[in-house]
Amino acid sequence: MARPVKLGLQAASVALVAGLLALLIYKLATDRTSAATGPAPNFTLPRLDADGHLQLASLRGQAVVLNFWASWCNPCKQEAPELQAAAQRWAGKDVVVLGIDAQDFSGDAKSFMRKYKVRYPVVRDGSGQVVGKYGVEGFPETFFVDRQGRIVGDHVQGPVSRDVLERNIRRALES
């Protein structure tokens, strides 16, 4: 085989391997980025409680309680009344409780919302893309986002209590 052809094939092989490696690194970096601190990854998801979509960035200027849940998750049933109570306590005070129903049937999620009287906005992440962006490992998980769109305070894995909600909402409002 002629030397230039051989060199060309070797260069192409190295470029192919480097390209595949870059794709793998990009996939790992974008899919499983833990969002425990720093800017909250933005998303636009369809709403379950109303028509249309909701974009996280549209809530800039308010503190957001971001709660990941699913109807089949038992601890989610335990914390649902606490989240609803917090949404009522903080209504009209620049605080939004936002539920993200993930990896779930939309019909089951709506039944859950009726049964547990969830009145705050809920969006649906059926494929789990946003779950991946936030590095959520189980349900429920809760993040707190400040007025500037940064994740602050505790990253709660498991059912969230009234005390934890109050402390972190105040922190999100003040930071």
Binding site: A70, W72, C73, D104, F105, S106, G126, S127, G128
Partner: protein, 149 residues
């Protein structure tokens, strides 16, 4: 004759696949649908969402849905990642095509190597080697003559 045999064989093989498409069983789909939280197929998972999807599939089978209809409904709820095998269209088509491309490239490389190897070993190729320098040829002749004497 051989064409007829091929058609018959294709019909015999297509029969069960067609039956599975029209009247799927839970077992058929359990190995083709992923559990979204555990990233294994349904038949290897007892997670709550896996059990819920199994119940959904059973209900849709009872309602008379085909396998494709059930899969479409699951994709609508959970996205394409719920399917164990990627769909055969769009970017996902690469996952089906690339292995065959790889095997094809490998076969071509092997054929080229085999061709070069066979050429290098042929008597003609050996005879066609570069001629010896006159001085070296003279010395080889002398050595051979001394050896034979």
């Amino acid at each position: 004759m051989s064409a007829l045999a091929a058609v018959l064989a294709a019909l015999v093989l297509a029969g069960p696949a067609l039956a599975s498409e029209r009247h799927p069983t839970l077992g058929d789909l359990e190995s083709e649908v992923m559990c979204p939280t555990c990233k294994t197929t349904l038949d290897q998972s007892n997670a709550p969402i896996a059990n819920r999807i199994r119940a959904f599939i059973s209900a849709r089978i009872a309602a008379g849905d085909t396998k494709s209809e059930i899969k479409d409904k699951l994709v609508l709820q959970f996205g394409e990642a719920v399917l164990a095998a990627p769909p055969k269209h769009g970017f996902n088509l690469l996952a089906w095509v690339l292995p065959f491309v790889g095997v094809g490239i490998g076969a071509i490389v092997l054929a080229l190597l085999a061709w070069r190897w066979s050429r290098a070993r042929s008597p003609g190729a050996a005879a066609a080697g570069a001629p010896l320098e006159p001085e070296l040829e003279r010395r080889v002749d002398e050595e051979l003559a001394r050896f034979e004497a």
